[in-house]
Symmetry: C2
């Protein structure tokens, strides 16, 4: 009988408060795994911490899956699961395969008829969407925007049109050291009436979530986003 | 000092297995609340169960927020929070304000400078996305598709084009008794090479998640989706 590939969300940081978001089912599941596939050693460490397991305890086998993994290696990673073991998949924080690596391995599991079991936990785009107040009946997550200012501003204008046309919330993220540049581009590119939400340090003691119209942001104090993991959202609302 | 509006995910069902997905921080937070704003009595019941609280214990005050709530009532719902109390917001299952009511109240909280705190937990579109293997670097959630077959098939074709153009996973849901009709429309409307994923009864003992190409679905046994909460996803992948 084939094993199960268990998709395990990890805390968005290793502060005690961040680790509290993990449910008992995640902890319990962790103790039953034969091995762990992690985005990096860092992801594996958070997994062991949140599961309350010393890093030398089972699952002792830790393999890496990230942007350096060649497609041919995926079959090898899945082999123990095909042989009947249950393995966990974790990213460096949040839900694996959502804005993080892992999807190729999950698809391969489906191709082989392996059971895939997703566990519930933190996902920063979703936490930001809930907390933005911008509406989650329809939404789109775009990952990273282009790096150069001109293309980024064009993309932001496109997202604004898309938000109005589809009546949905548009979500993106940025490498933390570029957060302030993206924020300034948004103020420059977007209409005054558009709502812009920024959600930093989600689930951490320093969590900060603010939603304002672009016109209000222009006269408010700048939020401190530098080097803090941040999700950005925009929405067009009546009234 | 103003209170906090705490956004609390609830289990996707009241089976013991479903309730296990709730983290200690959610349980702890539940005990500190002065009141609860729920989508319905059902949502409130799941909240009390998952928090391990008898329904007669604090938070005793339960108010409803759903499609019958008039905009003018939102200020009244928020009044105790403005007066310094912390209240929870829950939907009937999953994360409030994500494919569920609540966003208007959250936005009003931001307008009043009230702290909004999202807790991590189950969200069926996200669990389905993780488990689909279709890729979560970019994705869009569209809520419900049109009800009549012709418009629904046109919309499915549009989603397919959009998935190819943006290299993203397109996600939607349906009223459970119409699931099979939507599934058949997807097989009829989509290209053979497109991947279609169906995720039913997420986090429940009867959970079933399958991802196949449309051509493979056509020759496979039909999944049993009737009257089971199901998330649908489509993606176009190379290879």
């Amino acid at each position: 009988m084939k094993g199960t590939l268990v998709l395990i969300p990890t805390a968005l940081g290793s502060a005690p408060e961040a680790l509290e978001v993990v449910s008992p089912s995640v902890r319990e599941e962790a103790r039953r795994l034969s091995g762990l596939i992690a985005e990096s050693r860092k992801g594996a460490t958070v997994f062991f911490k949140q599961a309350g397991l010393p890093p030398t305890s089972p699952p002792r086998a830790v393999r890496l899956l990230n942007e350096h993994t060649r497609p041919a290696e995926l079959e090898k990673l899945l082999a123990p699961v095909l042989a009947g073991e249950s393995w966990g998949l974790v990213s460096d924080g949040g839900s694996p395969a959502v804005a993080d690596p892992g999807a190729e391995l999950v698809l391969l599991a489906h191709r082989h008829g392996v059971r895939v079991r997703p566990l519930a936990g933190p996902s920063s785009p979703v936490l930001a969407l809930m907390a933005s107040g911008l509406g989650g009946q329809r939404f789109a997550f775009h990952g990273y925007l282009p790096r150069d200012t001109a293309s980024r501003r064009r993309t932001l204008k496109d997202l604004e049109s898309s938000a109005a046309r589809h009546i949905r919330t548009e979500i993106w993220m940025e490498t933390p050291y570029r957060n302030m540049a993206v924020f300034e581009d948004a103020l420059a590119a977007l209409e005054d009436n558009t709502f812009l939400s920024v959600a930093s340090d989600l689930t951490l003691p320093t969590e900060d979530i603010q939603t304002r119209r672009v016109s209000e942001w222009k006269s408010a104090a700048r939020p401190d986003l530098k080097n803090r993991p941040t999700i950005f959202l925009l929405g067009i609302l009546k009234g």
